[in-house]
Symmetry: C2
């Protein structure tokens, strides 16, 4: 049998509305940015509170979703990828990584379930792009999912965060938008940039300005030295 013999078709049950409006700078795993919030809108015919009944008291969810901005090209065969974790310049087998570029562009992410309103699930600690199609939602089951003795030499611990500072004016802007949006913008910027979004193999030019879209904001930063990020402005798009 070959892969082409069997084929399965899926339609999303929901859509993610996320603080992350572009792929760049999204934390590489969930939980690295607890201030990263969003919600899942269930799509008809699944947009019913009934489908969520029983989730009361469940703290975390597994989302199976589509990497909708990393769809493989037809006939593209990618057996090895360059994960950012290894600096972005070393190739390993695709099934040994969580890379977005995979035979079936299916993502897997655990998120915190903050609350449910009707058929809307409010979630945080997310590493999901805005408009991500959700294929399935399952409860986290601690006794089977939290494997304390598990080992993964390629990702033995969370990446070392780098220092993030704000220009005074940028911090003021972030605080103003925080009040307007009623979202933890300062913490979100700190937690997101502490993962150092630029490719690990890139030595930053102190003059170069980097930017990313978060909520309706454009966040700009520089690297005054290689291991430090300075946020220079936080402005509305």
């Amino acid at each position: 049998m070959t892969s082409a013999t069997l084929s399965y078709q899926f339609q999303p049950v929901g859509l993610v509305h996320s603080c992350f409006k572009e792929k760049f700078a999204i934390p590489r795993q969930p939980a690295l940015a607890p201030a990263a919030r969003g919600h899942i809108e269930l799509l008809p015919p699944y947009d019913s509170a009934e489908a969520l009944q029983g989730l009361e008291g469940v703290s975390h969810l597994w989302l199976t979703f589509i990497f909708h901005q990393a769809m493989p090209k037809p006939n593209e065969l990618r057996l090895k990828v360059r994960p950012p974790r290894l600096g972005g310049n070393k190739k390993v087998g695709v099934f040994s990584t969580r890379s977005t570029h995979r035979p079936n562009p299916i993502g897997l992410s655990v998120v915190k379930l903050d609350r449910i309103e009707g058929s809307i699930l409010y979630i945080s600690g997310i590493d999901l792009l805005d408009q991500t199609p959700v294929l399935d939602i399952k409860p986290y089951i601690p006794y089977s999912d939290a494997i304390h003795q598990a080992e993964n030499p390629m990702a033995p611990e969370s990446p070392q965060p780098i220092m993030v500072t704000f220009l005074d004016s940028a911090l003021q802007q972030a605080n103003d938008h925080q009040q307007r949006l009623k979202q933890p913008i300062v913490a979100l910027i700190e937690q997101t940039l502490a993962q150092d979004p630029k490719p690990a193999y890139q030595t930053p030019d102190p003059q170069r300005i980097y930017g990313v879209k978060i909520w309706d904001l454009e966040v700009k930063w520089q690297y005054p030295c290689a291991d430090q990020i300075q946020v220079i402005s936080v402005s509305r798009l």
Copy 2:
């Protein structure tokens, strides 16, 4: 937007060869039966050791797979299900359970990776049916996946196992097949039946004989009392 607006098509990257030859009696979560073994055969064009390079030392894998014996019927809308965990007679929302009957019949399971030979992954602690199509294989990442503080009131701990005994003759048969198959048959039967495969709401008739197919064996048992299983024969199919 409705669910029907978007559609995605996937082809399996692999196929599970499992000790469990039918749905009945499969443990409801992985890791409940460490003696449950199998392997994943990668399908062409993914059947290359290259795609697995980097998995050395990784202890556990997430499998995303198809519940191929629980495909929804066209136009079937199932927002609530009766999970076995709740006795099989109480309905809850489909997204609050790991039920096999879901809008997209996608399963998620963490398994132990025992070893790799070429493009074959030997796995254990599985809750997978034989011939399960695998959509994706991802490494377990302890720092993000093992959430120690996670809570799930519906499944707060692993189900209480029930006592499993063997008739002397059945134990002898199991040991003989264990030697022939070079598989931990006695432990597998014990661990599988300790989950009590029959529906929780069913009061067992002490006369009734239950059976299940494991590897190339038919295992038969009775309930001498409600909270005890006695294996009465283990014979080749």
